[in-house]
């Protein structure tokens, strides 16, 4: 998991435009030519300030999503149905935390310290993927997350792995490799419920119905309402539009849901075979904004648990600290 296709941008933080105007035009041209040739940008390279800012925002939110995303699933480790499922869930949750670490490292190469990122998460300034503000009420919810949220994240991460920033691509390469296990174990658990007893099927159907709207929200608002500029696409920071990623996800996974006899709670959901485009009922985008801004069922609990972990882990971190070591960022 869990890079949401949607990266939240605080509307009042766009004043950097001014700074962007001061970028050296010759260096900017050289930078853009490098990206156009398909070359990667590395930490020591010159880069426009807006590129740096957008990448920090993107990678940092991706990292937070991995860490917070482990909370609804981690809750189910103690009551996973059976030893094999428990082992797989522990392994998956550990992977997600590892992904968070890899991504924090990648963001640090751009000049923001890990402590600053964690503080921005704890204070609510920095966001994470909106789906994790919903609870995993039953085992079927864990199954839907493991199969479909991971699938959606893979669509996004595979696209981003072809982006222009070297350290982010390298982290994603490793992440995508591990995600293939997450997706497969999620699919396996999903099939088990879908082909199980009537009670299991009902539990899965209820979870699907609950999660369908958050899943449709996952890739962010429709392109017509999205403020992401052409520039981010040119710079290969954003690799595919929200609607394109959503369409790719629907194309790959709706058949996999329907072939098991499960239904989706949207009568408008269908594919136009000539254009290849899926049509669907527009999800409630006001609700999406409300949940991002703290109004979801779990926002408070997620941050509280995270703060609690920081507070209670502090004495361990301090006891191990080496006071003489000067701080450095990762080199690559």
């Amino acid at each position: 998991m869990y890079g949401g296709g949607y990266i939240f941008d605080e509307p009042n933080k766009r004043q950097l435009k001014e700074e962007q105007l001061h970028d050296d035009p010759a260096k900017l041209a050289e930078f853009e030519a490098r990206i156009a040739r398909g070359e990667k940008i590395e930490p020591g390279d010159w880069m426009p300030s807006e590129y740096r800012r957008q990448l920090i925002r993107l990678i940092e939110q991706h990292a937070h999503s991995e860490i917070i995303g482990a909370l609804p699933e981690g809750t189910w480790i103690t009551r996973a149905p059976g030893f094999k499922r428990k082992l797989a869930l522990i392994a998956k949750v550990q992977d997600e935390i590892g992904h968070g670490q890899l991504l924090y490292n990648a963001a640090e190469t751009l000049g923001k310290s890990r402590e600053a990122m964690i503080n921005d998460l704890l204070s609510g300034k920095s966001k994470y993927s909106n789906v994790f503000n919903y609870p995993a009420e039953t085992w079927a919810d864990v199954t839907v997350i493991g199969f479909l949220i991971d699938a959606a994240a893979i669509v996004n991460q595979v696209a981003n792995a072809k982006g222009s920033y070297g350290p982010y691509c390298r982290a994603l390469e490793r992440i995508c490799y591990e995600e293939s296990f997450h997706l497969k174990q999620g699919h396996d658990a999903f099939i088990e419920l879908a082909t199980g007893t009537p009670a299991q099927k009902q539990m899965l159907q209820d979870a699907l119905d609950r999660w369908w709207q958050p899943i449709m929200h996952f890739f962010g608002p429709p392109d017509k309402a999205s403020v992401h500029s052409q520039k981010l696409m040119e710079w290969k920071v954003k690799m595919a539009s929200n609607d394109d990623m959503r369409n790719q996800f629907l194309d790959m996974y709706v058949p996999k849901i329907r072939e098991l006899g499960m239904t989706l709670p949207d009568p408008e959901l269908k594919k136009d075979e000539t254009t290849g485009k899926w049509s669907y009922t527009d999800p409630d985008w006001d609700l999406f904004k409300k949940v991002i801004n703290g109004g979801g069922p779990c926002n408070v609990e997620r941050l509280q648990v995270r703060q609690w972990a920081e507070e209670h882990g502090r004495w361990v971190r301090k006891a191990l600290m080496n006071p003489n070591a000067a701080k450095v960022a990762p080199v690559a």
Binding site: Q101, N105, M321, V328, A332
Partner: protein
């Protein structure tokens, strides 16, 4: 704790985690320092750079590196080194590595032995 839903998190509903004593702020340096990690996949292979970990010292960096980079695929050994101890050229000076077309004398392809051998064989055959 006033939750809009019944929490399933054992930290919340069983441990009753105490209310946070106000906003938590992690201090600069509290997440330690970064170490670059090099991974050896099999005996006889080079150690390859795979990423980095944060750790308070090199010994713990090794422990974290094992957890982070060697929990799945094959690995027989790991190195860690403080990121600050890595010395590198400036990325901007990349052009100094540009290969000179005149340097074919350094490449196997710069020596066309077959041409000469064939020519020699041809001339000796012609004499017969």
């Amino acid at each position: 704790m006033d939750q809009p839903h019944h929490s399933l998190d054992p930290r919340v509903n069983r441990l009753h985690l105490p209310e946070s004593g106000g906003p938590v702020e992690v201090q600069e340096g509290e997440n330690w320092n970064s170490f670059e990690v090099f991974h050896q996949e099999k005996r006889g292979a080079h150690h390859e750079h795979v990423g980095c970990v944060h750790a308070p010292n090199a010994q713990l960096a090794l422990v974290f590196a094992k957890e982070q980079f060697a929990r799945r695929k094959k690995c027989v050994n790991l190195w860690v080194v403080r990121s600050s101890d890595i010395l590198a050229f400036n990325a901007e000076d990349e052009d100094m590595f540009a290969n000179n077309a005149e340097k074919t004398y350094r490449d196997a392809s710069g020596f066309k032995v077959m041409e000469k051998i064939n020519q020699f064989k041809k001339s000796t055959n012609d004499k017969k």
